[in-house]
């Protein structure tokens, strides 16, 4: 069983409030920039929290082949983010895929045979485009009392929706578009476990390659909560910070108990995972080796944090055992750090239990600068972790400077600091639902 194939990270593609591409993320973190500002994609003035983390505009034509541009019309924002991340990830990994070849950016043949190229892309509950759907529904409703005439809708109303309407919002369409654009025909999975989706998808892709079902997998997740329904849902379930609309860059404060709540956001992160020998044979640059994956669940509740963080403890211990690594050997922790006090306390309790006896562990929390992008968040965390390890640098964690972790964690509160990072761990959990996961990566030095 331990004769499994080794798996490395060779590319990171992200879409964050700092823009497309891993360089913008890394630069933004290190410069302590904030990607949170007043929401622009719709009028947020009716929301309790009017700020968010939006990905700056980009052109879909820049990330797909010309012949595929028509298909970008049936993509929810979540799908657009995933497709953009896939292009960025392939480019970052110098991977010649069907997309790169069709765009004239590389000469064939593709670096990976299509039947050995898989995908595992996490997704959230994709919100229907509200202006589009409301525009169709309103024709069958009474604007006075809101009563809706289902019979009129069935008879004629629904015809105002484009025939492919449903396909804009199926969670597996992130993966489907990406596999079509890049011609990936090996196993393709869509993990839908809220904020834990990215870690679970990366963990599953790690296993898929290790057992030999693919040589390369594009994996991670993407989600946008930057639409009226997405933001209102977060507000209804009590997760958003209020009273900070006038200082957006200071609003999301992981592990800072003086402010309770997170900021809704959108983001995507996709990694290129590769079997080690395959990556070496094509001379790929290796960020890190994936060595451990653990997953569990909070069985006390399906929507409230558990004070002792038992579900996260099991995920962390599972990942450490899988990697054959002692807690003392972990050099960096990328926390999930969402900014909601009870969830942050749960995570801290779990880390404190697993890493008891340790102090001043180098740590990162990225959500202070970009908010919670749901299923996209975890993979952004893992990408940031890979960059930190690769560069032996702990980037600053905006707004965690006042965090009290009982001396366990040492965040960079002003400038990035250098640290020899051999082993790094990143953890995540679903806020709605109870899934937990952890990924451990290790420096690869040939």
């Amino acid at each position: 069983m331990k004769q499994e194939r080794r798996v490395v990270i060779t590319g990171c593609g992200v879409a964050t409030p700092f823009g497309l591409g891993i360089d913008r993320l890394w630069d933004g973190l290190n410069a302590r920039r904030s990607g949170i500002r007043r929401i622009e994609s719709f009028d947020p003035s009716g929301m309790a929290c009017t700020i968010g983390g939006e990905v700056p505009p980009f052109k879909m034509g820049d990330v797909v082949p010309k012949a595929y541009r028509k298909s970008t019309k049936v993509m929810a924002r979540d799908i657009e983010l995933a497709v953009a991340c896939a292009y960025e990830a392939a480019k970052d990994a110098s991977l010649k895929t069907r997309c790169m070849i069709d765009r004239g950016e590389a000469e064939g043949p593709p670096s990976v045979p299509s039947t050995r190229f898989g995908a595992n892309i996490g997704a959230g509950l994709i919100c229907a485009d509200l202006p589009e759907l409301a525009g169709a529904l309103q024709a069958c409703g009474d604007p006075g009392d809101g009563r809706f005439d289902l019979r009129q809708w069935g008879r004629e109303g629904m015809e105002s929706l484009t025939p492919l309407w449903l396909l804009k919002f199926l969670p597996n369409m992130l993966g489907c578009h990406v596999t079509i654009v890049h011609d990936a025909q090996a196993p393709s999975n869509t993990i839908t476990c809220g904020e834990a989706s990215g870690h679970l998808a990366i963990g599953e892709a790690f296993r898929t390659i290790a057992r030999g079902a693919a040589d390369v997998c594009i994996c991670g997740g993407a989600e946008s909560k930057m639409n009226p329904m997405g933001v209102l849902r977060q507000e209804l379930v009590g997760r958003l910070v209020t009273g900070h609309d006038d200082q957006p860059d200071r609003a999301c404060r992981p592990f800072d108990a003086s402010v309770d709540g997170t900021v809704a956001a959108e983001c995507g992160g996709l990694l290129i995972l590769e079997e080690l020998e395959f990556a070496r044979a094509r001379g790929a640059r290796v960020y890190a080796e994936v060595v451990g994956f653990g997953a569990s669940a909070n069985i006390a509740s399906w929507h409230d944090p558990e004070p002792e963080g038992t579900g996260i403890v099991h995920a962390l211990e599972g990942a450490l055992e899988d990697a054959g690594i002692m807690p003392a050997a972990v050099d960096l922790i990328t926390t999930f750090g969402v900014g909601c006090n009870a969830f942050d306390a749960m995570e801290l309790a779990a880390l404190t239990k697993v890493f008891r006896g340790r102090s001043n562990m180098p740590a990162v929390a990225v959500k202070g600068s970009m908010g919670n992008g749901g299923a996209g968040s975890g993979a952004v965390d893992v990408a940031a972790t890979a960059l930190a390890l690769h560069n032996n640098t702990v980037p600053p964690s905006l707004n965690t400077e006042t965090a009290d972790t009982g001396g366990l964690l040492k965040f960079a509160d002003a400038d990035p600091y250098d640290a020899r990072i051999n082993v790094a761990l990143s953890t995540a959990y679903a806020l709605s639902g109870n899934q937990t996961a952890a990924i451990i990566i290790r420096k690869y030095e040939g």
């Binding site: 299509s114 509950l125 025939p163 969670p171 196993p187 999975n189 993990i191 679970l200 379930v237 069985i299």
Partner: protein, 432 residues
């Protein structure tokens, strides 16, 4: 040899009932679970019928305490809780609960919970600015905030059924949900098998749950022209492989199986129902709307599953088809089976229980896996009903209209999803 994965418990909530044996009898009799839709007023919709779950007594199955604890669960989480409770009892684990709870995981192919349509539509209608023909997001937010319920919104997340079930059964191992459309629960059972084989869990509670019988679900599929519109003869509207088929019929429900590592099952003296021996998964990577015309993804998924089992096409005794009753699926699935099985294609019985149950979408594959296990157990293959008019494009043996006694040692079950998701499992009679 890697660790072997066996099935030790099964439970389901289906349009034909919630008891394994009774539903099985109805399937063998060729009964249809399709009726006029009652979950909402579909009387003017292009499709006015579906296969609804009619007789779920949730409280009787899970008991009053759990029913109260999970009272806010959405319809599909209730389906899953009930099916999982029955599967757990069937496996003997209820009477003898596992001590190492972190060795018990969950892997579902669960759909999203139904939208709170009445309140959602009311907010959309009132929030619309007719003068400017656009949504007034501010006005909408005020109305939506007042009308929408916190917990009902929360329960729509697709991971919620897996979360509820983990709490109910104290499953603290790996917990995942996949939503690869109509292939989801087959993929979930395949990946759950991989988790047990590798040693990351000893027991996986797996399967699927879904209901899309709601206004926007039916709207979405109607707009895609994927559903049958045979409103005048709805009971026989699901017609896989028949020349006059005109689309699938929406079903709903949940099917859950208990997967267990063989030695773990033996040690507790469990009744082993069957063994999962092969799993294959591929993507068409072709179009979001169409299956690749050669069936390349489906062929590869079946071939990989058979190879993964260490078997050949000659070992397959029965194919439980995806068989949706759409023009395209049935034609290309037939072509794919022909391509892979060659001369043997005409000699392998194939059937689609969607002809009776409708299409349970994310839950379809798990429901079909249970029928495969029962076919192996009883030596009888459930029929494809409503098969009356041969189609030159579908020229294989679909076990038309009547169940057929046959020795089934090894069955293959296909699930294919929108966007080109292909998953196949091979299940075998358990032998030491």
């Amino acid at each position: 040899m890697s660790r072997r994965t066996v099935i030790t418990g099964m439970g389901w909530v289906t349009p034909l009932g919630c008891d394994i044996e009774q539903v099985w009898k109805r399937l063998l009799r060729g009964e249809s679970g399709i009726r006029l839709t009652t979950r909402f007023d579909a009387s003017t919709f292009p499709t006015q019928f579906s296969a609804e779950v009619k007789d779920l007594d949730f409280e009787a199955i899970v008991g009053p305490e759990l029913a109260a604890r999970h009272a806010t669960a959405s319809l599909n989480s209730r389906f899953a809780l009930a099916a999982a409770k029955m599967a757990w009892a069937n496996s003997g684990l209820e009477a003898d609960p596992p001590k190492r709870t972190n060795r018990v995981g969950v892997y579902f192919g669960g759909g999203e919970g139904p939208l709170d349509f009445t309140n959602f539509a009311a907010a959309a209608v009132c929030g619309w600015d007719r003068d400017n023909a656009t949504l007034d997001a501010k006005k909408w937010a005020g109305i939506a905030r007042a009308k929408l319920d916190r917990l009902r919104e929360l329960e729509q997340d697709p991971n919620m059924a897996a979360s509820h079930v983990a709490c109910m059964l104290r499953a603290q191992g790996p917990n995942l949900n996949t939503l690869t459309a109509c292939a989801a629960s087959t993929q979930a059972m395949g990946e759950a098998t991989c988790i047990i084989r590798r040693g990351d869990a000893d027991i996986m509670i797996s399967g699927g749950t879904h209901s899309m019988i709601h206004p926007l679900g039916t709207t979405g599929f109607n707009r895609l022209t994927a559903l049958s519109t045979r409103n005048d003869a709805y009971e026989s509207a699901s017609r896989p492989f028949d020349r006059t088929r005109d689309g699938f019929v929406l079903g709903e429900g949940s099917a859950i199986i208990i997967l267990e590592e063989l030695e773990h099952a033996r040690a507790r003296g469990a009744n082993v129902l069957a063994e999962i021996v092969g799993y294959g998964s591929t993507a068409d990577a072709f179009r979001i709307t169409d299956i690749h015309e050669t069936g390349r993804g489906a062929i590869a998924a079946m071939r990989l599953a058979i190879e993964n089992a260490g078997l050949t096409i000659n070992d397959i005794d029965y194919i439980n088809a995806h068989g949706t009753g759409t023009e395209e699926n049935d034609k290309i699935e037939t072509l794919a089976i022909r391509s892979l099985f060659g001369d043997r294609a005409t000699r392998v019985p194939i059937s689609s229980v969607k002809s009776m149950m409708g299409h349970l979408i994310a839950a379809a594959g798990a429901m079909e896996m249970i029928t495969c296990v029962l076919a192996i157990r009883d030596g009888i293959i459930p029929p494809t009903i409503n098969y009356e008019n041969p189609d030159p494009n579908c020229d294989l043996d679909y076990v038309p209209n009547k169940a057929r006694p046959a020795k089934v040692e090894i069955a293959l079950s296909n699930s294919f999803g929108f966007g080109g998701q292909n998953d196949t499992l091979v299940v075998r009679r358990f032998k030491d």
